[in-house]
């Protein structure tokens, strides 16, 4: 489904990603871990199409299409979803209006009929249950005045509404208390199927107790330096990142 080959990206001339290789197949959950500043969020942003990042080398194919050639909105319509690390507050734009515009534009692109108000509301009600989000929240401006947990739940709610094939969760767990974490993870797990895939970007192993990954990759200095199963995450939890850093840094100096 997703194939990343030798991806290099930089921001304002500073290289951040230095040769990422990653294959994600339908039905899989991949966790990307790593110390601060290793390039985790950059990878998520580059995949979603954030303009500040310049891809200097490499390629990304998504369902056979050159992802890097697509505008951010077309990536979303193709089925890529990024749950933001810091969801943006947009005063004056109602959550419901926004979502209806988004859902219908995505549906149009996928050759589906636009949802009328009734069908849209029915769908919304159904998906709201998934992340236990309150109707009142959705009648307000998008993310405005939402608590951290509410914002993250709203991200997963949007994900449920847009029905992506590849979801990238960028530090969705950061700052969540255990209840919110459980609700968010529960939502993600229910949305999982054999046809879609999830990339979980996280700093902490804790999230992976709830969303169990098939593969764990460690990102350091812009490259994947170690891959393994969920046991790798446990090892990281126990030993921290230093042993990996040391191994890589000593290699580099030799």
């Amino acid at each position: 489904m997703l194939s990343i080959k030798n991806l290099h990206a930089s921001i304002e001339g500073t290289p951040i990603l230095r040769g990422i290789n990653l294959e994600v197949k339908a039905g899989e959950v991949h966790a990307i871990m790593g110390p601060n500043g290793s390039g985790k969020s950059t990878l998520a942003s580059v995949l979603a199409g954030r303009e500040e990042y310049e891809v200097t080398e490499g390629e990304v194919f998504f369902k056979g299409k050159d992802l890097l050639e697509l505008a951010p909105e077309d990536r979303a319509r193709e089925g890529v979803f990024l749950a933001f690390q810091y969801p943006v507050e947009i005063p004056g734009v109602s959550s419901t209006n926004f979502l209806r515009t988004a859902v219908n534009q995505v549906r149009e692109y996928r050759g589906l009929e636009a949802l009328d108000a009734v069908k849209f509301l029915t769908m919304m009600k159904e998906k709201m249950k998934l992340v236990e989000i309150d109707q009142k929240l959705l009648s307000r401006s998008l993310n405005e005045g939402f608590s951290g947990g509410e914002k993250k739940r709203n991200e997963i709610f949007q994900m449920a509404m847009l029905e992506p094939t590849l979801s990238i969760l960028d530090e969705t767990d950061s700052g969540l208390d255990i209840d919110a974490l459980r609700i968010v993870s529960n939502g993600v797990n229910q949305l999982k199927s054999k046809d879609n895939a999830t990339i979980v970007v996280t700093h902490y192993q804790r999230l992976l107790d709830y969303i169990v990954p098939d593969f764990v990759h460690v990102l350091y200095k812009g490259r994947i330096v170690k891959s393994g199963t969920k046991d790798l995450a446990l090892e990281l939890e126990e030993k921290g990142y230093d042993w990996i850093k040391e191994a890589i840094d000593s290699e580099a100096t030799v």
Binding site: A48, G49, R50, E51, A71, P72, E73, R75, A76, R77, F81, L82, F84, P87, V88, I90, P91, G92, V93, N97, F98, L99, T101, A102, V103, Q105, V106, Y109, S141, Q158, L162
Partner: protein, 422 residues
């Protein structure tokens, strides 16, 4: 001498023959010649080089004559969903036989109503263009809303402009809202030609005790229109006046809007949106004069400027020594969409009373790129996402339009312009 060249532009024009109101005209002419046209050195016209523009674009000025209009042209210009009385103007002249739904409306042309107290509210000495209008206005209109009368449907003031090069259109409107009267006006101009022309308009409004007056305005004239308007309102006790100005186009537009709060518990509200592109220049100068205690004024202007457009906002709030317990709020926010767009914004508060609540603020920024990316990342087309954000920024001004169908009409106009129709 520079004063000579300043006056030269209108010298011949002022020699034209104007009928009626001799005394008022003399006063206007004398004041105009005394003030001269404003230059960039004039504090009030520092950012708006209207005199230079007029000198460059127009010559051989003469009063614009009314031109023929058909009923079809009138009906085509009526905003959708509109169903109130309609007063039709051709180059500023009231055309009675084209007016619609006016059976219960008390109005006359100014020449029929020579006792109209021209210049008693919009004083000639305040602005050279107000003085110029007073010297040269023609068949304007006097509208009276009798005591306790509630005009349910808005009154549309529909102005058609089509001028020959050098024509000066000088509309003059006098509105007298009696005690407890309620009325809404919608002022809408339609440009029928493509020759550059100059509109110099004065509107005087008197709000009686406890009267409620709403004055909505769409400025969507051609790219070749120069317009200066002076709208001035006197408000008596317990009365309320709300103006909403929507500026969408024009070569150079200068709006002087002044409210005089003369009675306690009176309330003056001024709202505006300017959406500018190309080289359009729009200048909103507002002025609230709190003369008595316990009055309130609210002001919110929002601007979105693209291309090489230029906006000016100057909001003056004057609180006199006697005007204790005044509440005066003012806000101006702008978004610049290009490097070449300019906004000059200036709040100007002069407070002589010591027990008042006054606030003002202005912001100028750019479109929030992070918000734009967020919307795009959810599958919303970039242009539409931009429109959505811009409408979210400016749309709140439209909420102050009480009449629902007109609010919808304006919302559509704004969304169309911002590309956010959804």
């Amino acid at each position: 001498m520079s004063t000579l060249t300043k006056q030269n532009l209108f010298e011949g024009f002022l020699e034209s023959s104007f009928v009626g109101f001799e005394k008022a005209r003399e006063e206007g002419k004398a004041s105009f010649l005394n003030q001269g046209l404003p230059t960039l050195k004039s504090e009030e016209y520092k950012f708006t080089a209207i005199t230079k523009k007029l000198e460059q674009s127009l010559s051989n000025l003469s009063p614009a004559k009314p031109f023929d209009l058909s009923e079809e042209e009138v009906s085509e210009a009526i905003p959708q969903g509109f169903e109130g009385p309609i007063l039709v103007f051709s180059n500023g002249h009231l055309i009675k036989n084209l007016c619609l739904g006016i059976d219960h409306l008390n109005f006359s042309t100014l020449s029929e109503k020579l006792e109209t107290p021209i210049g008693s509210i919009a004083k000639v000495d305040k602005d050279a263009f107000a003085a110029l209008n007073q010297a040269s206005f023609e068949e304007g209109v006097f509208i009276s809303i009798p005591k306790k009368e509630v005009v349910e449907k808005p009154i549309l003031l529909l102005s058609f402009n089509k001028a020959n090069l050098g024509d000066v259109i000088s509309p003059r409107v006098w509105i007298d809202a009696g005690d407890f009267a309620e009325v809404t006006f919608i002022s809408h101009s339609i440009n029928k030609g493509d020759t550059p022309y100059f509109v110099n308009k004065v509107v005087e409004i008197k709000g009686g005790l406890n009267s409620q007056i709403r004055y909505y305005r769409i400025q969507n004239e051609g790219k070749n229109a120069f317009e200066v308007s002076n709208i001035e309102t006197n408000l008596l006790q317990d009365s309320r006046f709300t103006s909403v100005t929507l500026s969408l186009s024009g070569e150079m537009v200068r709006n002087n809007l002044s409210l005089n709060l003369l009675g306690s518990n009176s309330e003056g509200n001024m709202y505006g949106i300017y959406l500018l592109n190309g080289k359009t220049h729009v200048d909103n100068h507002t002025n609230v004069d709190h003369t008595i205690p316990h009055a309130e004024s609210n002001e919110l202007y929002k601007g979105i400027l693209a291309d090489q457009s230029r906006g000016v906002f100057n909001g003056k709030i004057f609180v006199r020594q006697d005007a204790q317990k005044t509440n005066a709020f003012q806000q101006n926010n702008n978004i610049l969409l290009s490097n070449d767009a300019t906004i000059n914004t200036k709040p100007q508060l002069e407070i002589w009373a010591d027990d008042v609540k006054c606030s003002h603020g202005c912001t100028t920024g750019q479109l929030d790129e992070e918000a734009l990316f967020y919307l795009q990342a959810r599958g919303i087309d970039k242009i539409q996402a931009k429109g959505l954000l811009l409408f979210a920024f400016a749309g709140e001004v439209l909420e102050h339009i009480e009449n629902e169908s007109f609010r919808e009409y304006c919302t559509n106009l704004v969304q169309e312009r911002l590309g956010s129709k959804f």
